[in-house]
Symmetry: C2
Subunit: 327 residues, 2 copies
């Protein structure tokens, strides 16, 4: 089996490649070949005994998508995207990468023809939703994105569903919830604090909380996000039906509950490293985000979220900190 990952140099892309190598297979078939591509050089995962190609590509550039499809990957994990903030500040770049890049890949798959029909896993986002929201967002809630990024993701979901319906590929769109705890340095994303207030205190650092503690949000760990992508790749056309773009379940809790979970796991001293610094701008941005999902379809299809925010913290300590944190 040949697997292609776009956006392979990103956090999810790297973890997905490592996981696939660790599993050795996908959907019960051994993985013999791995193609990793990104605008930044992707790292080949260690321990893989098959053929691996790590490519540096500008996906929407002429000929790139075709050259990726020419390898006829059996499964494509399409993660490559300009992130939310950049898609908002650079209108042209956002549309070029997030819309034109995805469309180029879909078209390259379609034009390969000759019976080629790969599994195509697209990472969408809860940014496809726009406020105002009901108490919990049902599976049949409309997509009214309030960012260019969300628009591009929603457009690609529609294209994917049409290419799937026409039989050019077997598609699934996974609307990932907020990934928490994101490893690495604190970043400037407005959503960064959800991870910062857990990761930094566990590393002995101070973290800033810019919003009120009653802010509610839905989270999944990086490990679970990868599980979602792999589980999605294993679902058949028959299982999915016509509605192939799915909101994922997650752990829905308030910031206050996040902090309480941190306190239970790591103690008062760690939880004490969070400094409250209300920021009206962040507060306003966050208030436009979806909070709670009634992700019945995904649950019925076997997608499994963590069961508590404590699980999410434990996974971070296991996967990123080697089981230890700074008391």
């Amino acid at each position: 089996m040949h697997i292609l990952i776009t956006g392979a140099a990103g956090m999810i892309g790297r973890k997905l490649a490592e996981r696939l190598v660790r599993d050795g297979g996908l959907n019960g078939k051994p993985i013999g070949r791995l193609t990793l591509t990104d605008i930044a050089p992707p790292q080949a995962p260690t321990g893989f005994r098959g053929q691996v190609e790590a490519r540096t590509d500008d996906l929407p550039a002429p000929g790139v998508a075709q050259s990726l499809a020419r390898g006829r990957p059996d499964a494509i994990f399409h993660l490559a995207a300009v992130v939310s903030g950049e898609a908002e500040t650079d209108f042209d770049k956002g549309y070029r990468v997030n819309l034109d890049g995805t469309r180029a890949l879909l078209e390259a798959v379609r034009r390969t023809g000759d019976g080629y029909r790969p599994k195509f896993v697209f990472t969408s986002s809860i940014a496809v939703y726009g406020a105002p929201f009901p108490h919990a967002i049902p599976d049949d809630f409309h997509l009214t994105p309030l960012t260019s990024y969300g628009t591009q993701k929603a457009v690609c979901e529609l294209l994917l569903a049409d290419y799937h319906r026409r039989g050019f590929l077997d598609g699934i769109g996974i609307r990932l919830p907020a990934i928490c705890v994101r490893p690495g340095k604190p970043n400037k994303a407005a959503s960064g604090f959800f991870s910062n207030i857990i990761r930094e205190p566990l590393a002995g650092q101070q973290a800033v909380l810019p919003v009120r503690e009653d802010v509610l949000h839905t989270h999944a760990s990086p490990r679970t996000a990868i599980n979602f992508l792999i589980h999605g790749a294993g679902l058949s056309r028959e299982q999915l039906g016509a509605r192939i773009n799915l909101a994922m379940p997650g752990v829905c809790c308030t910031v206050s509950e996040q902090i309480a979970a941190l306190r239970r796991i790591a103690g008062e001293r760690v939880a004490g490293r969070i400094r409250r610094e209300p920021d009206a701008l962040v507060d306003r941005i966050v208030s436009g985000w979806p909070t709670r999902f009634d992700a019945r379809r995904a649950l019925a299809l076997g997608f499994r979220p963590e069961t508590s925010f404590e699980d999410i913290i434990r996974i971070h300590i296991e996967d990123e900190l080697g089981g230890r944190f700074v008391q």
Copy 2:
């Protein structure tokens, strides 16, 4: 005021141009200039005293959208589209005209810059919805089109909303219900029979009904469809809010109620010209269509449908038959 109509040679395009000329203005401002464009030569409406340009254009071809935007129309009615059946049989053409053509026009508007921000009225369709449906489709129901045409319309709605949000234009998307009674010859569209069973008997001709009489559908006359477009052009940003794509209200009735209305208006003999010839394929296609809308937002914004199917028949007799029909 300068008005641009794309798809100006089509039924709605022609009627819209005639109506604007008859009104002499839009949103309280006199119309001094009219640009009509279509892939087939549009006819200049009679009686217009301003400047009129009737162009034959292939909208997605390089430079065409820019040349249309260069005239800085104050209002754009974008009706040009490959119809549902053709977009399904010719995948490339559907995406080229319905998606790339619309995007080219949006981009041409954006790139004009220099404070240019026209009113942009986009004709969408109830094809953006896909079965299964609730009893009545609410305004916040998701878009899961089951045709390439519906996909293209839904994608353009999303793009329009983003261009609107970014301030490049003042957009509104109008999801027109089934237009009934369509003038002209019976066509092969699966939805054609809704019009055929009224138009043909009134013209003394036999009509074929291919579905069961309990089939439910929502209708608007051509006159009302034009009203919707003109009313939409008059709504402000503040009135519309962030959700600029709107399902329209209409007359919801069964085929049996359509026929009863025809009988009341034109008599038993006219209604007797309908021949039942069940067609399993048409029945299957129609069963996937949306039936009933709970179009609260449009009603609250002042869009007015006909109040009965009899009104729809009377409008056809007035507007198309000069007030007379074949007894």
